[in-house]
Structures are given as C-alpha cells and as structure tokens.
Symmetry: C2
Subunit: 205 residues, 2 copies
Amino acid sequence: MSDNSPIVFVVDDDPDVLKGLARLLRSAGLEVAAFSSPHAFLELHDSSAPGCLVLDLAMPGLNGLELQGALKAKGSAIPIVFLTGRGDIPMSVQAMKGGALDFLTKPVNDEDLLRAINAALEKDRIGRESRSELDEIQQRLSALTPREREVLTHVVSGQLNKQIANDLGTVEKTIKVHRARVMEKMKVNSVAELVRLTERLKTIE
Amino acid sequence: MSDNSPIVFVVDDDPDVLKGLARLLRSAGLEVAAFSSPHAFLELHDSSAPGCLVLDLAMPGLNGLELQGALKAKGSAIPIVFLTGRGDIPMSVQAMKGGALDFLTKPVNDEDLLRAINAALEKDRIGRESRSELDEIQQRLSALTPREREVLTHVVSGQLNKQIANDLGTVEKTIKVHRARVMEKMKVNSVAELVRLTERLKTIE
DNA sequence: CTCCCTGTTGGCCCAAAGTCTAATAACCCA
DNA sequence: TGGGTTATTAGACTTTGGGCCAACAGGGAG
C-alpha cells in the first residue's frame, strides 16, 4: 500500500518560511511535503498516510484553527504542531483544546521544533497502530449476523447460555451454536479474550 | 465524611482580584475558598475534597505552573482553570499540556469564567466517580493472597485450570479452589466481569 | 425454482468448571 | 505452644460449555 515512512506536512502561506522549514526538516532526515495553501493540503491529504502536520496559524482563506476543525470533521487524526508568529493566548488554548500536540511561536528554536515534530510522529505511529487494531476488531464484528451479535453482548456480560436462551426466547442448544460461531468469527479461544476485544472498542466511543 | 458539595478554590495574590472573584462565584451559587498564597493552598488542600481550582499565573514564591506541577506530584487530580493577566503563549501551552482545563486571560468575561468552572467541576465529578470505582477494585485486589493473584492473571488471560496448574506447578484441583476464592473476593460471578475489572485497572496505568 | 445464508433444534459425548466436605502442612503471630 | 492464614490436595457430584453430525424452515439472490 502506502510506503510507511512518515511525512511531515508543512502548511504556511509565506513561501520563504515554507522553504526554510522544508530545508530544516529535510536536513534532519525527515520527509517533507510543503503546501502554501491550507485548501491545497486539505484536499490532497490522505488521512491514511502516516505523518504529522506543521501548521501556520494566520493564513488567508482558512486559518490554522479552521483547518484543524476541518481535518477533525473529515475524520483525520493527524497530529498537529502549530507554528505561528501572530497568535494570542485564546488561540493557543483553543488549538490545544482541539487536540494540537504543541503550539510554538516564531521565531522558533530548531531543536524545539524538531522535538515537537518527533513527538507528533511518534503519537501518530501509536495512534495508527491502535486504530488498525480496532479496525481489525470492527471487521470481525461486522462478519457476525445480527443474532450472533445479540448473543455476543449477552456472553460478554457474563450470562450463562441458559439465561441467554431465556432472554432471547430460544433454547440453550441454539445459543451454543451461535456462541461457537461468535468465538470462531472473532478469532478468540476464550471468553476472556472476547471480553477484552469488546472492552477495547468501548474505550474510544 | 466530607460533604459532597464541590468547592471552588481560588488562588490569587491580589486581594482585590481575589475578593472580586469570590463575590462573583458566590453570587453564582458556588461555594468558594479563597487563598492569597499558593503555599497556603498547597498545604491546606485535601485532594479528596471535590472541587476545582482557579489559579492566577503570576504569583510570588510559587507561580501557577509550579503549583500545577506540585499538585500533580502530590497526586492531586483537581481540575485547574488558569486565569491570568500577564501570561504568554508558551506558558498557556505548558499549562494546557500539563492538563489544565482552561486558560483564561484577564479581564475575563464572567460567563466564560463560570462556564469554565462548571466544566471543571463536572470533570472533577466524573474523575472522582471513576477513581472511587478503581479504588474499590484495588481494595478487592489487595485482599487476594499472592497465589490467588497469580491465578487471577492466568484466568483473565483465558487459560484453562489445567494449563494454569501446569504453569504454577500444581494440580487442577488446587487451581479450582484458588479460582473460587478469587471470584468471591473480587465479588464477581463470571470470568467476563473479572476480565472487565482487570481491564479497568489497565486503562489508567 | 434452486442454492445459500440465517436461525433454529435434537442427540450424543466429552471436557471443563463449580460445589461441598474434609484433610494436611508450613508459616507467622501472640 | 495454640490459633489464624495460606497453600495444597482428595473425593464425589452437578452444571455448564464445546464438538460433531444431522436436520428443518424461511428468505433472498441468481
């Protein structure tokens, strides 16, 4: 699929700043994609590609905070490092509340920026791993029939086959069959593992 | 024990500001405890009391960020709303990274402040509930003997009594006894519930 | 109309887990 | 030294869960 080396996306409307940032990051061994317009980035960005975003706050058309909101609305979880010269405290607070990883002010110390970017890339990697595990679980879950899903919820709540049968208006034998299919489709060998999978899904909702 | 109405702790070295804030919050129906020195608050603060903290940033002796750090080191999870007239962006970012709920600038809009405080109190309530549940689980866990704890970990990993016995160098019958005691002491009726409890503990570590 | 999926049920057998009573041994504390 | 905790094991019995084979009914797709 996509190559797995992360890309640092840089969005800044000042071409000189953009060029300077790109040079700095490339010299630090990072792969960089530079955008001079937030719209250009927003449209081209593939949220499945690993990386992070270095974002100027004040830009024409769509400012940094709006882009942050647009990305979130789009379902992208890319970690954002803000980098700005003209921000104020309320903006920085809004950005951080919105999940930004850091909020740096220009002129920025090179080491601070690189440290923030590396932290963002690490966060992206972790989040990506976690999401792919959750996707895998979701996929297994979607292979269940409606009845099997019902049985699943009763099983992970700790009920006996007998009780489940009673609740669902059927007999124990039937529940056993559904239950076996659930275990098979979810690829687990024990109720313990099954509960762990379902608990994993709850942590994000 | 402690009465359960939350208290808004206000710390500001300016007596006039302190008085004004206290009046505002009291008129909004909140219980207020005012401190003119961060040290005074730090020493008197009981982290088991429900409430939140409204904190000035610039104070002599111990500034807001340092107090935030000291509270965290002390194990207090009280939500903090910063309120300051002389802060800068790096400070606000540090505060937010440190877990502050909000970071407001003076002069502050009364409604903004009250909204932030109410959010902080709500967060405190939620966190308090969650922590007391975790404490309860920890307490049950501490009632287990070392051997029972060993058996517990094997059980929640989905192993059979037979396998556990083999791992621990004993026989299935012994495991059954330990297992029954674990279920009793943890106050659960099924492996599913047991797994849920142990997973709950992992989410915070 | 036939095939596949879904949901259902039965019988048979075995494995695993839970219950109850009872006993033994090591250990620490008073 | 006597008592409590912990860890161990035994026997006997019941309940629950899982595996295998087989069967039937309803509904949707080709």
